[in-house]
Every structure is written in C-alpha cells, then in structure tokens.
C-alpha cells in the first residue's frame, strides 16, 4: 500500500533524479552543439568511402570473404597498404586504379576513418582439425611476437584474428608467390610454408571471436 509519506519520498526522489538528469544534459549540451558545429573531418573522402563500401561493406565491415574487414583495422597498417598500392609495391588490379588518383592526405584520412569503426562480429565455418594445426604453424613462425598474443596487431602490424579466412588465404599465397611484395619478411616466412600450412593458419585465425 502506498502511504502519503512514501509517495512524498518517491516524488522527492524523482525530483532529485530529474534534476540530476537535467543537470547532466546541460553539462553535455555545449559539447553536443559544438560537435554539430564542427567541420566533417572526413568531408574530402566521403565520395571515396562510398566506393570503398561497395566491396568492403558499410563502414568497412565486409561480409564478402575475398574483401578484408577494414573496420577496426590498425590505422598505420592501412595507411601503409594504401600508399604501397598507389606506388605498386603492393600490386592490386582492383585497388591500384582506385587509389591512383587519391592524394596521400586523403589516403591517411581513409585509413583513419576505417580504424575508428567497430570490427564486426564474425562467424566462419572452421575446420577444427586444421585450426588446431594452424596454432602450431603459427608457433613455428613466431607470429605472435609481432601480431601479439591476441593476434589483433598494433600500429604497423595488422589484425589477423577473425579476419575473413578466404582473404587471409589469398593474401598469404600472394606473399608466397611474390604478388604482394610490400612486406619482405612475411614473404620470406610464407615461402617456408606449404599450402596445407596456409589453410591451417587461415582456419585458426578465423576461429577467433571478438
């Protein structure tokens, strides 16, 4: 039963709560309006981004196995890749013409934009036996020394954990076959691996969850 005393207490509590909410809103308000007034730092690349989203998915959260997830990937890694695609150090029939006419400053912005997005949840069909073998193959190569224990990379080193296995497999073959020539240490290492090793690594990396 609600007595008049308890009702008074509840109203008082509600008023205090409301006042706090209002005060919080007032504190936040100047920042919010400032944000609205700020220039879009990505204005110069908005059109480019639409092109990117076509293959790499909205905000880089790619759902297509051959196109890597860019959302949440490391900024500096992506910036270096874009530069290398522009110079041809990393050959790509698709990406080469796209980045050819984009200035370095905008390449940097593109990398920044994608690095600020959220890596999507993934669910790949994984061969458990291959995945277990992949862990051992990764130990052989000392991969976690650079890609870190989480295999999420840092700065210059890309995130591998739950990237599309199909893309990972393709790019490892590109390293090995000297199609991708912009990371010589990776190429040297992958030349020591068999097709089965590469399949195993791709399965293992795909087995990670966010």
């Amino acid at each position: 039963m609600i007595t008049s005393k308890s009702l008074l207490l509840m109203l008082t509590a509600l008023m205090i709560f409301s006042n706090e909410v209002i005060a919080e809103a007032e504190r936040a308000a100047p920042e919010a309006s400032a944000e609205i007034g700020e220039q879009d730092k990505y204005a110069s690349i908005r059109e480019n981004l639409k092109t990117c989203f076509t293959c790499h998915g909205d905000n880089g959260q790619s759902k297509l196995g051959t196109f890597p997830i860019l959302a949440g990937q490391e900024f500096y890694y992506m910036y270096v890749q874009l530069k290398d695609m522009k110079t041809g150090l990393r050959e790509s029939q698709v990406m080469g013409p796209i980045v050819a006419n984009i200035e370095k400053a905008d390449l940097k912005l593109l990398a920044m934009f994608f690095s600020e997005q959220k890596w999507p949840e993934t669910s790949y069909e994984i061969n458990a036996k291959q995945s277990a073998r992949g862990q051992r193959v990764i130990d052989e190569g000392g991969c976690t020394a650079c890609h870190l224990a989480t295999l999420k990379g840092n700065s210059r080193i890309p995130r591998l954990a739950n990237q599309h296995p199909e893309y990972l497999k393709n790019t490892m073959h590109d390293f090995r076959n000297e199609v991708r020539n912009n990371a010589p240490a990776m190429a040297s290492l992958l030349k020591t691996y068999t097709d089965e090793d590469i399949d195993a690594i791709a399965n293992y990396l795909g087995s990670f969850k966010e």
Binding site: Y76, E140, A145, A149, P184, S188, L189, T192
Partner: protein, 575 residues
C-alpha cells in the same frame, strides 16, 4: 622520515666496484654494517646521485633495474635466506591494466615502487601493501615499429623524477610524487624502425638510452639527455661510418664462421659502406664504472639479420661489447664477438662489472657478458679484451652453418643461449648465474633490399616444433670459465636472474613457476605457481624491517608464454 631502523640483518653498506676489488672472496663483507637510513641518506625522499652510487650496498631500496651501476643483480639483504626461504609467501599482488608481455623490473625508493607494463603504463605503488599511488598511461603516437612484444623494462629515477622510454621512441619524464608528465622528447623516428623498451640509465644528470630496431635497418646509438630539460647532450653511433673492421674469420671462441671474404670485399667496392641501415640496436642497460667514468654496453645484430650480402664487412660495432666515455660519448674500446653475423646470435644480455682474475691470476676490473651463443664472456674492463669464455651452457650443433633458402638447422637457435635476460652474480663466490634457452631453429636466407622501415630479416627463422625445447639456469665460475652447476627447466628461460646475500638465486619460468635456488649448489629451495609466465627479472627491497622479493608475472611475446598482468611481492611468513 621516521627513525625506525629499516632493513633486515644486512642493511646499508658501501660496496662499489672499487671496494669489491678489495674484498673478493670474503662472503661476509656483504652482510654490511647497520646504520640509520636517515644518517646516511638524508630524508630519502629524493634519489640523489649519492644514493644511486651506493645502490650495491643498499638493502632497503632497489634503485636500478639491474640493482646497481655494476649491474651485478646481487642484492645485499639476507633476511630471506636458505634456512627460511621455504616460508616465503605472497605479501600482495597488483594487477596492472594491460595484459601482455611483461619484462619489467620494479625499482623501489623509500617504500614506493615504480613499475611499468607493456604499452608504457607506469604505476607508483606502496611497496608494503601494493596499493596504487598513481598511474600514468603514455599517450602513444599512431606510429610504432617494434618486434617481439610491446614491452617495457622499467623506469630510472633521479631527484624527484622517473624516466621512461616509449614504444613510439620518446623519452618521458614524470614527477615521481604524482605521475604528472614534466617533459617528453623524441629520441628517434618510429617510422624508420626506432622504438624503446629498455629502462634508461641515469648518471651525473644524464639520462642514457639506446634504441631497438636491429630488425628494421636503423642506425643504432646511445644518446645522453639532460635529466632536467630533456636536451640532447651527445650521441654515440653504435655503427661507425667505417663499419668494415678486420675481416675476422673466426668468432670470439675461435670457431670458423664460413665467411666469403672475397665476395664481401667485392660487394663493399660496389655498394659502399652499409652503415646507414646496418642496425646495431642497444636495448639493454649499460653498466657504469663511476671511477673510470665509463659506460659499458652491448650492441645488437646487424640488419638484415640473415642476409649478409648487402652489408659487407665485420659490421662494426654490431655484436660487440663497447665502452664509451660518459662525458663525451666517445668510444674507448670494443670487442666484437661475431663479425658479419647472419644468425641473429647477437650481444643482448646486459654486461656486468665485477672484479675478475686475469690470465696471470691477478684481480682486475672485469666485464661479464652472457651471449646468445650460450657462453659467458669475461673481459678486461680496461681495454675490453677477452680474458676467457666459459664452457658452453647449452647444446651446440653445427654452429655457424650458413643459412640457406630451404633452411639450415643450427644450435643455438636465434633466441640463444642467453637472450636479453640479465644475469646475476654473487661476487663472494665468483659465480655468475645465466638463464638459458635451448630452442632448435632453422635459418632461412632470402635476398632482400632495404624495405624502408619495415621488418627486414632477409629471410626467416623457424622454430622446429617437433624437437624438444628446454632451458637451464647455469652457474659459471667466471674466474675459471668452468660451470659449477646447471639446473634444467622444462621450458626455455627468458626473464633474468636475481642473486641475494641470503645465498639464493631467484628466477621465473614460462610455465608460471617462480623459483629460488641455493646459489652454491643449484638445489631448488622454494617455488610458487603463478598464473602467467614469469619472464621478468626479479628484484628485492626492505620496508619496515621486512625483506620482499618482487617479480612480474605477465608472460612473454618472444616465446609466446601465457600473458598476464600481475606484479607479485613475496615476504616471509613469520608464523
């Protein structure tokens, strides 16, 4: 400052290098005299040069990441000893914010501990309780270039400041009381492969620091910065403009290295001196001889690691012990262990200054270095010359077989022997204790031009995973080179050693065990199971009359040992 007497039965005493020279063989001198901290060290609220100089005999504080300027990692307190070490228990555990590779050594100043984690976090803790006083997180630049883990090995202190090198190659000075950043200067350009993981060394108002980057084609150095302002005072290039050397065919132990000198000379004529991208990082602390005003350090591998054709010559001063003058940074002497290295078996473990017997049995100032080759090298400090090398501490197989495209198998593997792990000594016993690795690898070579700041190995190293790996702690008599004892461990050892006047040696393992051994016999006397790899060098200190032993349990990126985030302090259970 309270007047309570601090420390256990061994408290404060003067044991510099000069006095050690006078007292070799006298074990009990290390027990020292008991004096009031206040009378000898003032209020101990700030770290004076005098305090840093006396660190070897200070059993209250732990003032340098390798214990003292001589880097003996011998701690003079003996409250925890062979008789009671079985009563050693956890006093407190502090969990840091970052769960990743932990190679840090805490320093302790008047009851406050300063300790770092991966990605350059610094914590000030109450050393008695583990309670946090402040926490500093470095605002990391967007570009970092490092291999082998986002490690940091600790801070150095002077006056009211602590100093840290960062992964984005900066030197940061913090207010020791608050953690507030006082200044922050660039050491080198991270985009070109420079990064910092070592603790600085501070002497005479100078902050000395080297660099990582031997896997990225940097040009290595040691730099001295003004501790007050961060101004650069001098730079010693660990790669001279003439890096050719004497075309040495054998290594320091006399073993032939299969160099094609004729081809190298032709390449030198065609390519010129490769000094600009030759590597030669200096990424471990230097030992300081205050009397001679010198710094001794070791220089790492040449770039690229495995492909030597683009870097003809001995590649000076890679894989060398080097001494420089502290005022000018000018080179005084060097000794190269492996000329034109193509195996990454470089010089990494920090050198130790200790009196040693020379070939004639006379006691001289000596320098010890534990090599990735698995040998302890003993030098005459005056001219860096080699007096002797020890018996091998790990298995040797086909050493200096040249790398091939398909992969050549050789022991030791590229991690050693002794990796960066600092050794410890017990000067009273004439012993040095080394943490060793047995990890078979294949060495693959591939022609690789300079890739502009990217990882530049010139091939690949691969661990042979179906061959057994192990490690050991080895005690070497540095006056004879003979192995006195060796204890095998289940996993390769990385992290470092601490010896104490309590007759103990402490070392951790990748499986999370932290152990104490009898320093004379190697007998296992105590162990504790932690949750991650114990791959950080242990330290010790006293607060309110109780001796603590402290170590990080956070695993290791290089060896892929289980990661964690704990700093664990132990003391005796008095029950």
């Amino acid at each position: 400052m309270n007047n309570k007497k601090q420390g256990g039965s061994g408290t404060l005493m003067k044991v510099g290098l000069a006095s050690l020279l006078m007292t070799v063989g006298a074990h009990n001198v290390l027990a020292g005299e008991e004096v009031s901290g206040g009378s000898l060290f003032g209020d101990m609220q700030t770290v004076t040069q005098d305090l840093l100089d006396r660190a070897a005999g200070d059993s209250n504080n732990f003032l340098h990441t390798n214990a003292n300027y001589e880097q003996t990692r011998f701690y003079p307190a003996q409250q925890v000893n062979r008789e009671n070490v079985h009563n050693l228990e956890r006093a407190w555990t502090f969990k840091m914010d970052v769960v990743d590779s932990l190679e840090t050594t805490p320093i302790v100043i008047n009851g406050t501990m300063f300790v770092t984690s991966s990605f350059n976090h610094v914590y000030a803790l109450d050393a008695k309780t583990g309670k946090q006083k402040w926490h500093y997180e470095h605002e990391m630049g967007l570009i970092t270039t490092y291999c082998c883990g986002p490690n940091n090995r600790g801070v150095a202190a002077l006056d009211d400041m602590v100093y840290m090198g960062t992964l984005d190659a900066r030197l940061v000075a913090l207010d020791a009381k608050t953690g507030k950043k006082m200044w922050d200067v660039e050491i080198a350009d991270p985009e070109l492969g420079y990064s910092e993981t070592m603790s600085p060394t501070i002497v005479n108002g100078k902050v000395l620091i080297g660099t990582n980057g031997g896997e990225y084609g940097i040009r290595g150095f040691v730099k001295a910065f003004d501790a007050k302002t961060g101004a650069l005072l001098w730079t010693f290039h660990s790669i001279p403009e003439d890096s050719t050397g004497v075309w040495a065919e054998n290594d320091a132990t006399g073993l032939y290295m299969h160099r094609d000198i004729k081809a190298e000379k032709a390449a030198l004529k065609k390519l010129g001196d490769p000094y600009k991208t030759l590597g030669g990082g200096v990424w471990q602390n230097m030992a300081i001889d205050r009397d001679a005003n010198r710094a001794y350090f070791v220089v790492g591998n040449p770039s690229p690691d495995l492909y030597g054709a683009v870097r003809p010559g001995d590649n000076l001063y890679t894989n060398s012990l080097v001494a420089v003058d502290l005022d000018s940074g000018e080179k005084i002497c060097h000794f190269q262990y492996i000329a034109h290295d193509v195996w990454d078996l470089d010089a990494v473990s920090p050198p130790i200054l200790v009196p040693v017997k020379n070939e004639d049995g006379q006691t001289v100032k000596g320098v010890l270095h534990g090599g990735k080759t698995g040998y302890v090298y003993v030098h005459n400090a005056s001219d860096c010359s080699l007096i002797r090398y020890s018996e091998p501490m790990v298995m040797q197989r086909d050493r200096w077989v040249l790398p091939t495209k398909e992969g050549a198998s050789m022991l030791p593997g590229a991690n050693g022997g002794v990796e960066w792990s600092p050794m410890a000594t017990d000067p009273s016993q004439g012993l040095v204790y080394a943490a060793n690795i047995h990890q078979p690898m294949t060495y693959h070579v591939e022609e690789t031009p300079y890739p502009g700041g990217k990882l530049w190995l010139g091939g690949a190293f691969k661990v042979i995973t179906d061959q057994q790996q192990w490690g050991n702690i080895t005690a070497v008599d540095y006056n004879t080179g003979k192995i006195k004892w060796k204890v095998k461990t289940h996993q390769p050892m990385i992290g470092g050693v601490l010896a104490t006047a309590g007759g103990l040696v402490f070392a951790g393992e990748g499986n999370g065990l932290f152990k104490a051994y009898n320093s004379t016999s190697g007998e296992l006397m105590w162990q504790d199971q932690t949750e991650a790899g114990v791959n950080a060098p242990p330290a010790s200190y006293n607060v309110d009359g109780e001796q603590y032993v402290v170590v990080g349990s956070g695993g290791n990126a290089q060896m892929n040992y289980t990661r964690g985030n704990e700093i664990i302090a132990y003391k005796l259970n008095k029950k």
